[in-house]
Amino acid sequence: MIELVAVSKVYNAGRPNQYSAVRGVDLAIEHGRVTALRGPSGSGKTTLLSLIGGLTRPSSGRVRLDGRDISALSERFLTELRRATFGFVFQQFQLIRGLSALENVMLPAVPTGRPHARVRARALELLEYLGLAAHAATRAQWLSGGEAQRVAIARALINDPRVIIADEPTSHLDSALSRQILAILGELRGQGRTLILSSHDPLVFESGLVEHLVEVRDGRLEAAGP
């Protein structure tokens, strides 16, 4: 169970450009389900995902993973936890230009100290699973949107995390590619992983993938679905 208790996040605190992205959110996310955050742009969905995944710390409130407060962990422990527990698929793919698809996929495994050959074999296996075996050596900037998104998914899976966090996974894709990505996410759900998505794409909500819907507006939760 992932729990957010009275979580708020303020950016640029004390400066003229201060703003509150998330305000007093309480949320519980069960493992093994697909949870989606829905709301307009600027509603705080991405910030909530960052808080859930330990990419940033709350300005106030608590984030708990299986009862353990992760918002107070030191950077080192939080990074270790993030590396082992969460896989991230970012809104704009966030692949590193100049590196190949394979090198991008292997990046999260570098600090783990796992044997290079094993990591490489696993990365190639993931690329093959996602239909990208032929693009393993292709530089990130030369991949199409759908290919880049699948490479980002492979990268999220390299450390075999329990939880996949995907921020607007279909926002830069056409309908056919969006359905393909949703099918892949469905397969991941089928493997027993927890999926937490943010989106305002109707395709996501019509796909039948989402089991727990959370409406977000102005940094607050409006209503939580089943």
Binding site: Y11, T47, S50, L55, T56, R57, E75, R76, T79, E80, R82, R83, F88, F90, Q94, L95, I96, R97, G98, L99, E103, M106, L107, P108, A109, V110, P111, T112, G113, R114, P115, H116, V119, R155, N159
Partner: protein, 378 residues
């Protein structure tokens, strides 16, 4: 331990991939860096090499040289002075020397004529330095024709060439016997150019010099230590001159390195954010950047130092030769003996590699300690 090694291997792999994807920038930086190390190391290696050679030469120099001054100028010394000096307590040997300069109009250069203290050539024979032989196109058995003090032709048969290993001092040298020397310059018997003194107890050198001056107030006494200091001063001055010029280059490189290395572009900051978001901590990012700085600067250092070593010890340092060796018509063609000094390498390494690595790490550290979320949002 295995995990640590695998982690370092992964970081190095990523670093190499990183260096490769900014090939133009890194190649430019590598070349500028290599050039800087090459120039700095060349000056230091050559300057030190010359000083070392000079020290070796002076090791065989007499402890004291006495000259006669007349109206403040060097003048010939009467044989009676040798007897006066020989009588001083502490002096173990006194030898009168004969040497002088002759302008050779044929090659437009000054020659040094000298009577060796031992194994003087036979009458009408000479042994000459390699640079003089090259300039005149002479080999053993040829005849060297000069004009004596009265303008009359003076022929000497070349008996042999002097060993080229001593070219630093023998390049323009012409050895002949005492009678030929006196005839050539018109110097009557009983007069010498100067005198060398051997002192029985090295601790008494200064005292003996004082005694010589007390006995012969018109004398000038030069100690080996003073000659060594003069050489050092000349080489230091010349090396300092070059290093001053090079410091401009060093400053230019520092600016370039600071700009290239420290100014993290928005793209680089975003990449650091991505790495942190996918599970790298600040330490991992810093270690990777440290590897990047070390790989670039250490390879450039090795390349620059290696080239400098070849430049100085095998190619005779053509870039700095005129400044460090002096200006002359008859150039000694000589290379300093190869030498590796660990303290010198360490100094050059710390002067060039550490500042670069530090300049690289500071901005990375600042970016790496931010929340990944914050960096990606930028």
């Amino acid at each position: 331990m295995n995990a640590w090694i695998e982690r370092q291997r992964g970081l190095v792999d990523t670093t190499v991939a990183n260096l490769g994807r900014r090939r133009g920038r890194n190649l430019g930086l590598f070349l500028a860096y290599t050039l800087l190390v090459f120039l700095l190391a060349s000056v230091v290696l050559y300057g030190d090499g010359l000083r070392r050679e000079a020290r070796l030469l002076l090791a065989d120099a007499p402890e004291l040289v006495v000259q006669r001054l007349t109206a403040g100028r060097h003048d010939l010394m009467p044989a009676a002075w040798l007897e006066e000096i020989r009588g001083l307590r502490g002096v173990s040997a006194v030898t009168g020397r004969l040497w002088g300069y002759h302008f050779d109009a044929a090659i437009g250069a000054n020659l040094t004529l000298q009577v060796p203290l031992a194994e003087a050539p036979a009458s009408g024979k000479t042994r000459i330095g390699a640079a003089l032989a090259r300039a005149r196109g002479l080999a053993a058995g040829d005849v060297l024709s000069l004009r004596d003090h009265a303008g009359n032709p003076f022929a000497l048969s070349v008996e042999a060439l002097l060993d080229s290993r001593s070219e630093l001092v023998s390049a323009d040298l012409l050895l002949l016997n005492e009678a030929d020397f006196r005839a050539f310059f018109g110097i009557e018997p009983g007069r010498y150019t100067d005198a060398t003194l051997a002192v029985a107890n090295p601790k008494e050198v200064r005292k003996v010099a004082e005694k010589v001056l007390a006995r012969l107030p018109a004398a000038r006494v030069i100690s080996r230590e003073e000659m060594r200091r003069s050489y050092e001063a000349v080489f230091n001055w010349r090396q300092g001159l070059l290093l001053t010029f090079l410091s401009v280059l060093l400053a230019a490189f520092a600016l370039l390195a600071w700009d290239k290395a420290s100014g993290l572009s928005a793209e680089e900051r975003r990449e650091i954010g991505i790495l942190k978001a996918v599970g790298w901590d600040s330490g991992d990012v810093l270690t990777m950047k440290l590897w990047e700085g070390v790989l670039l600067s250490a390879t450039a250092f090795l390349a620059g130092y290696g080239l400098a070593w070849l430049h100085v010890f095998y190619w005779g340092a053509p870039l700095f030769e005129p400044v460090l060796k002096g200006w002359s018509v008859l150039y000694p063609r000589f290379t300093v003996a190869p030498d590796v000094d660990s303290a010198q390498i360490a100094t050059l390494f710390f002067l060039t590699v550490l500042p670069y690595v530090a300049a690289t790490l500071v901005p990375v550290w600042r970016a790496a300690t931010l929340d990944p979320d914050e960096v990606i949002r930028e």
